[in-house]
C-alpha cells in the first residue's frame, strides 16, 4: 500500500501524489537510485487519470527529486534527508494559514501553544 | 450485412409464400370445377336476352376449360395479384423503420456508410420480393401441368412481368415511407391506407389511371396477348426515381 489520494482535499491530486512520493522516499520505501512506480501502476492503484500522475512526476523532476530516464522510468536522485529539508520548507505556508486563523479568532501566543501541545500529545 | 437483412425478412416472407402455395394447391385442384361452374352461372344470366343474341354466341365457354385462362383469371387475377401490394408492404415496412425505432441505426451507421446501408437493404428486400413473385407465378402452370392440365407459360410470364414492375414501384414507394417514420406501426398504417385508396381511385375518372390494381391483376392480358406497355414503361421510370429519392433522403436525413 503506497498512499491514498483524497478528492475532497483542498490539495490538488497531482500535488497529493507528489507529497505521497516524497513520503515514500523519506520512509525509505523507495531508495535513492531506485525508480518510482510506473505511471500505469500508480494511476491504476490510485484510480486516477494517468496524466495526473505524469504531471506529478514531472513536477518532482522539476524540483530535482527524480530524474526521468527515457524508457527506464523516473529515478530517485535525492536522499531522504534532502527531501525532508525541502518538505519542511513546504509546511511553512500551512502553519502560516493556521496562525492567521488563530489570530482572527483572537487567540494569543500562549493560548495557541497550549492547544498545539495538547494536540501533539494526543497524536501518535 | 446481407445475411442479417435476409434473416430478418425470412420469417414473414416464408409464411406468406407457404400460405400462398397452399392456396395454389387448392386452386389447381379446383380447376375441373371451373367450366361447369361458369356454365351454371351464366346460363342464368338474362344478358343474352337483353342483347337479343343467342346465348351461345355471347360467351366462348371453351375459354373456361383452358388452363392458361384459369390461372390468369383465378390465380393472378383473384389471389396472388390481390395480395401483391400487401406482400410488398409486408417486406418493406420494417426495413428502415425498425432500425430507427429500436435505435439500432446508430450501430449500423457506425460501421457502414448511409449509401451502402440503403442499397444493401434495398437489394435484399427486392430480391426477396422478386424471388417470391417469380416462384409463386411459375409454380402455377407447373402445378397445373403436373396435375395433368396442359398450361402454357407464355402469358403467365407476361403477367408475372407486370407484377414485378408494379412490385418494384410499390417497393420503392413503401421504402420511402419506411425511412420517413421511426415507428413501424405508422409505416404499416400509411402503406395500408395507400393500398386501400388505390381501388377507390377508379371511381374518379380523372384519377382512375392511378389505380394500378388492374395492371397488377393482369386485366385484359389474355385478350391483348401482350403486356400493357403504357403502365409498364411508366412504372419502370417512376420506380428508379423513387429509389434514388429514397437513397438521397436516407443519406441526408437526421437520425434522432
Amino acid at each position: 500500500m503506497w498512499f491514498k489520494v483524497d478528492l475532497r482535499s483542498p490539495d490538488p491530486i497531482y500535488h497529493q501524489i507528489q507529497s505521497g512520493i516524497k513520503e515514500l522516499i523519506m520512509r525509505g520505501e523507495i531508495k535513492e537510485g531506485e525508480t518510482l512506480p510506473s505511471i500505469r501502476d500508480m494511476a491504476s492503484f490510485l484510480r486516477v487519470n494517468p496524466n495526473t500522475v505524469v504531471r506529478a512526476y514531472r513536477e518532482l523532476e522539476t524540483d530535482g527529486l527524480v530524474f526521468a530516464r527515457p524508457g527506464m522510468g523516473y529515478l530517485v536522485v535525492q536522499s531522504p534527508q534532502e527531501i525532508r529539508e525541502s518538505m519542511k520548507e513546504g509546511i511553512k505556508p500551512m502553519i502560516q494559514e493556521i496562525f492567521t486563523k488563530a489570530r482572527k479568532l483572537g487567540m494569543d501566543y500562549h493560548e495557541f501553544l497550549e492547544v498545539a501541545e495538547q494536540l501533539w500529545k494526543t497524536m501518535k | 450485412m446481407w445475411c442479417k437483412e435476409f434473416r430478418d425478412a425470412l420469417w414473414r416472407v416464408s409464411i406468406f409464400v407457404a400460405i400462398l402455395i397452399g392456396l395454389l394447391i387448392v386452386i389447381v385442384n379446383a380447376f375441373p370445377l371451373f367450366e361447369p361452374l361458369m356454365r351454371g352461372l351464366y346460363s342464368q344470366d338474362t344478358m343474352a336476352d337483353l342483347l337479343g343474341i343467342p346465348p351461345e354466341q355471347l360467351l366462348d365457354f371453351g375459354i373456361f376449360a383452358r388452363g392458361e385462362f384459369y390461372v390468369l383469371d383465378q390465380w393472378q387475377g383473384k389471389t396472388l395479384g390481390q395480395l401483391i401490394p400487401i406482400f410488398v408492404l409486408l417486406v418493406a415496412f420494417p426495413i428502415f423503420s425498425r432500425e430507427q425505432e429500436k435505435r439500432t441505426i446508430y450501430f449500423l451507421l457506425s460501421g457502414w456508410s448511409r449509401t451502402s446501408v440503403y442499397w444493401v437493404k434495398y437489394g435484399t428486400g427486392f430480391l426477396m420480393i422478386a424471388g417470391s413473385v417469380v416462384l409463386l407465378n411459375l409454380l402455377a402452370p407447373l402445378f397445373m401441368n403436373i396435375a395433368g392440365y396442359p398450361t402454357p407459360y407464355s402469358l403467365i410470364i407476361l403477367a408475372m412481368g407486370q407484377q414485378l414492375i408494379a412490385a418494384w414501384f410499390l417497393y420503392s414507394l413503401f421504402l420511402l415511407v419506411s425511412i420517413r417514420f421511426s415507428d413501424q406501426v405508422r409505416v404499416m398504417v400509411a402503406g395500408g391506407m395507400l393500398i386501400i385508396v388505390l381501388p377507390f381511385l377508379s371511381f374518379v375518372p380523372a384519377l382512375s389511371w392511378l389505380n394500378i390494381y388492374p395492371y397488377i391483376l393482369g386485366v385484359g392480358l389474355y385478350d391483348r396477348g401482350g403486356m400493357d406497355l403504357g403502365y409498364s414503361i411508366g412504372l419502370s421510370m417512376v420506380a428508379p426515381v423513387c429509389s434514388l429519392v429514397g437513397a438521397r433522403y436516407f443519406a441526408t436525413k437526421e437520425v434522432e
Binding site: L7, T52 | S110, W112, S113
Partner: protein, 291 residues
C-alpha cells in the same frame, strides 16, 4: 498542460442546434480535445450532452463548425468508436453473432479483446441480447467500442445503468486507452466519475458550456466563498465567476487569486478549495456575475 501546439483531435466551434424553430438545444458550444486526453462533458440530464455528440457524429443537422482529426466526420468515421446513449444492439442476435457482425463492420475490431472482456465482465456468449438486463446490454455496447482500435472514442453516458463496481472496471479500461495514446470524449452526469478519470471537463448546462477547465487546476485556480446576506454588496465589488443564492447566504466561485486575500479578511466570509462537486453545483445553479 503543455501541448498547445498539437493539432486537436476534435474541434467544435460555435455549435448551434435548433429543433423545429422552437427549441434551441445548443446555443453555441465550443471546445477542443487534444490527443491522449480524457475529455468529459459534464452536465445534468437535458443539458445538451447527447445532442452535442450526435451533432459531432453527423446524425443531426447543425450550424457551426466541427472538425474531427482535421476533417469532416464522414471522412474519418472509421476511426471513431461511438457509443450512443441508447446503446441498442440487435436483440435477436447473441453475443457471438454480434461479434461476427462487428468483425465485418469494423476493420479495427479485435475479437480476442472482446471475448476476453466478455469473460471478464461475465457476459454470456450464446444468449440472445434481447434477454439481457439493461445494464448488461449497456456494457456490451461499450465493450464492443473499446475492443476497437479506434483513434477517438466517443462515449455517451457509458456508466448509465451500471453499478459502481462495473463502472470502476470501465474506468480502468478507459485509462488503458490513454496508455495506448488514444483519445476519449465522454459525457456523464456522475461527478465522482469525471473527477477521477477526466483530464479536462466542460461543464454544460441548458445548451451552453459554462466553463472548460483542466480538472487538476480546479483546486488551484478557484476558491468558493461563503457570503452571508448582510455582506451582499461584496458580490458587486468583487468579481465572481458564478454566485448561487441559498436560503441564508450566497455561494460564489472566484478565479481571481488577487482578490482572495482581501475577501477572506472581510467579516463573516469564509472560503474553501472546491472539489468538482461543489464547483459544478455553484456553476450550474448560479448565475455569472462578472463585474
Amino acid at each position: 498542460m503543455e501541448n498547445h501546439e498539437v493539432e486537436p483531435v476534435l474541434r467544435v466551434q460555435n455549435l448551434v442546434k435548433v429543433y423545429r424553430k422552437t427549441h434551441t438545444a445548443l446555443r453555441g458550444i465550443s471546445f477542443s480535445v487534444r490527443p491522449s486526453q480524457v475529455y468529459a462533458l459534464l452536465g445534468r440530464n437535458g443539458a445538451g450532452k447527447t445532442t452535442t455528440l450526435k451533432s459531432i457524429m453527423g446524425w443531426l443537422r447543425y450550424s457551426g463548425e466541427i472538425r474531427v482529426l482535421g476533417s469532416s466526420v464522414d471522412a474519418v468515421r472509421q476511426k471513431i468508436a461511438y457509443v450512443p446513449e441508447e446503446k441498442s444492439l440487435y436483440g435477436q442476435h447473441h453475443l457471438l453473432q454480434t461479434i461476427h457482425l462487428c468483425q465485418r463492420m469494423f476493420p479495427d475490431f479485435r475479437k480476442e479483446a472482446m471475448v476476453e472482456l466478455a469473460h471478464r465482465f461475465e457476459i454470456p456468449m450464446k444468449r440472445k441480447l434481447g434477454s439481457f438486463s439493461l445494464g448488461m446490454r449497456s456494457i456490451v455496447y461499450t465493450l464492443i467500442a473499446l475492443s476497437r482500435d479506434a483513434e477517438i472514442y466517443m462515449l455517451d453516458e457509458p456508466g448509465l445503468g451500471l453499478d459502481a463496481i462495473i463502472r470502476e472496471s470501465l474506468m480502468e479500461l478507459i485509462r488503458e486507452k490513454l496508455y495506448e495514446g488514444k483519445t476519449v470524449l465522454y459525457t456523464s452526469h456522475i461527478i465522482q466519475e469525471v473527477e477521477r478519470i477526466a483530464d479536462w471537463v466542460s461543464i454544460i448546462d441548458h445548451g451552453k458550456i459554462l466553463l472548460s477547465v483542466l480538472v487538476d487546476d480546479i483546486k488551484e485556480q478557484y476558491r468558493t466563498f461563503f457570503i452571508p446576506f448582510d455582506q451582499e454588496p461584496l458580490l458587486r465589488t468583487f468579481s465572481f465567476r458564478s454566485v448561487w443564492k441559498k436560503s441564508t447566504h450566497w455561494l460564489g466561485i472566484s478565479d481571481r487569486k488577487d482578490q482572495w486575500e482581501s475577501l477572506r479578511d472581510r467579516p463573516g466570509i469564509s472560503s474553501e478549495v472546491p472539489d468538482l462537486d461543489s464547483f459544478f453545483r455553484i456553476l450550474v445553479r448560479g448565475q455569472s456575475n462578472v463585474v
